[in-house]
């Protein structure tokens, strides 16, 4: 019969802020032992992370972006960024202009984090 792995010492909670600081120290230690190349790669990954987004889109819209990006031979994220810039430019610059443009599509949100969500399907129907 396989030997039961030792449970070791029962863990006692440490102060969360102290734990955060220990994590920082651990990271710093890891970084200290990295080669120049590993450090540069780590920095690049950190930069990439700053630009990364994770949004929920309607499936149709997502497919549309995918199709156009493929056809044009560009990354989907490039196309999405281009469309956002276009959207910002065409809608105007002031908060009032934005408010006016979005107001007709606002619906009460079921999430406690947000007051409203936008009815994007309604917009897609109107635009098609």
């Amino acid at each position: 019969m396989a030997k039961q792995p030792s449970r070791g010492e029962r863990r006692r909670p440490i102060d969360p802020s102290t734990a955060d600081l220990l994590d920082d120290i651990e990271l710093r230690d890891k970084r200290r032992t990295m080669t120049k190349r590993e450090r540069a790669e780590k920095d690049r990954a950190k930069e990439r992370l700053k630009r990364r987004v994770n949004w929920d889109l309607p499936v149709d819209l997502k497919e549309k972006v995918k199709t156009v990006a493929k056809k044009e031979g560009i990354p989907e994220s490039s196309l999405a960024a281009w469309l956002i810039v276009k959207g910002f430019t065409s809608l105007g610059a002031t908060p009032d202009e934005w408010h006016e443009a979005l107001d007709a599509y606002k619906e009460t949100s079921g999430s406690p984090r947000f007051e409203w969500i936008l009815d994007v399907d309604k917009l897609m129907d109107e635009e098609s």
Partner: protein, 270 residues
């Protein structure tokens, strides 16, 4: 009821007086009428608050002056019982007290009974003497500042052993203990190693550290507390966490923790 906090480590130069003065003034600024008692013959509590060293403790415990006559108002809500070289005589007096050693070690319980203060803080001397024992017996919370080096960490062990011994004889009321790393240098490898060892040994007792900061020394030179001299300094505000907006460590967060440990609510933070 008066909460009594002892700030102690048998190792010297670990930031006991700076911690005691900063927390006492912090509590006073938060509205808690606070008494800071200097148990160190160096008498630096008074110096830190721009007051003269004087035989306050000697008058209180040897000449038996009433507390109201001995306590000096150093800031709004903050009173001190200053000390000086006569504190050495106090130790000798208590050690040879004909009333018996038990009475001597309970001296602060008697003196502070019905004291009109919300919080009393003892700034203990870096030695294990009768005043130290009397402070531990009267206190309900113990804060142990420690530098991050091997010898200072050994001092933490020593004082925890002393408290355990007193508690085993039902002589100490200390029910809250915290270890406060001081002079923390974030970029020094030895500091990091010692900090990890400290957390490994004392686990949840270790509070986030006080950053090493020259302003702590400068403030003393101007007779000001850190709240007056440099509220924005790292030793007050702590470190920016890489995980979020909350700062880690510093006397500001330590004050919040002390108040919360003593069941007091802090009106503002930061």
């Amino acid at each position: 009821m008066t909460d009594i906090l002892a700030i102690a480590n048998q190792k010297g130069g670990v930031g006991k007086t700076t911690t005691a003065v900063t927390l006492a003034h912090g509590l006073a600024m938060e509205g808690a009428k606070t008494l800071l008692i200097d148990l160190d013959p160096q008498g630096h509590v008074a110096e830190c608050l721009n007051k003269k060293k004087s035989p306050g403790l000697f008058k209180l415990l040897v000449q038996e002056f009433p507390l109201s006559e001995v306590a000096i108002e150093a800031r709004t809500n903050l009173f001190i019982v200053p000390g000086d070289k006569t504190t050495e005589k106090v130790k000798r007096y208590l050690a040879s007290d004909i009333r018996g050693s038990e009475t001597s070690t309970r001296v602060f319980i008697d003196v502070l009974a019905d004291a009109p203060f919300q919080v009393v803080i003892f700034d203990c001397a870096p030695s294990y003497d009768i005043l130290h024992i009397a402070a531990l017996i009267a206190s309900n919370m113990l804060l142990i500042p420690t530098k991050l080096d091997h010898l200072a960490a050994d001092g933490v062990n020593e004082i925890l052993r002393s408290v355990a011994e007193l508690r085993s004889r039902d002589e100490s009321k200390v029910d809250l203990v915290a270890v406060l790393p001081t002079f923390f240098e974030r970029v020094t490898k030895e500091t990091a190693e010692q900090f990890k060892l400290l957390v490994k040994d004392f686990k949840h007792l270790v509070w986030p550290p006080i950053p090493d900061d020259v302003r702590a020394r400068e403030a003393v030179a101007y007779g000001q507390t850190l709240w007056e001299y440099a509220t924005w300094s790292p030793c007050i505000v702590g470190y920016k966490s890489s995980k979020g907006d909350e700062n880690i460590g510093g006397y500001d967060s330590t004050l919040t923790r002390v108040m919360s440990a003593l069941g007091m609510e802090r009106e503002k933070h930061g």
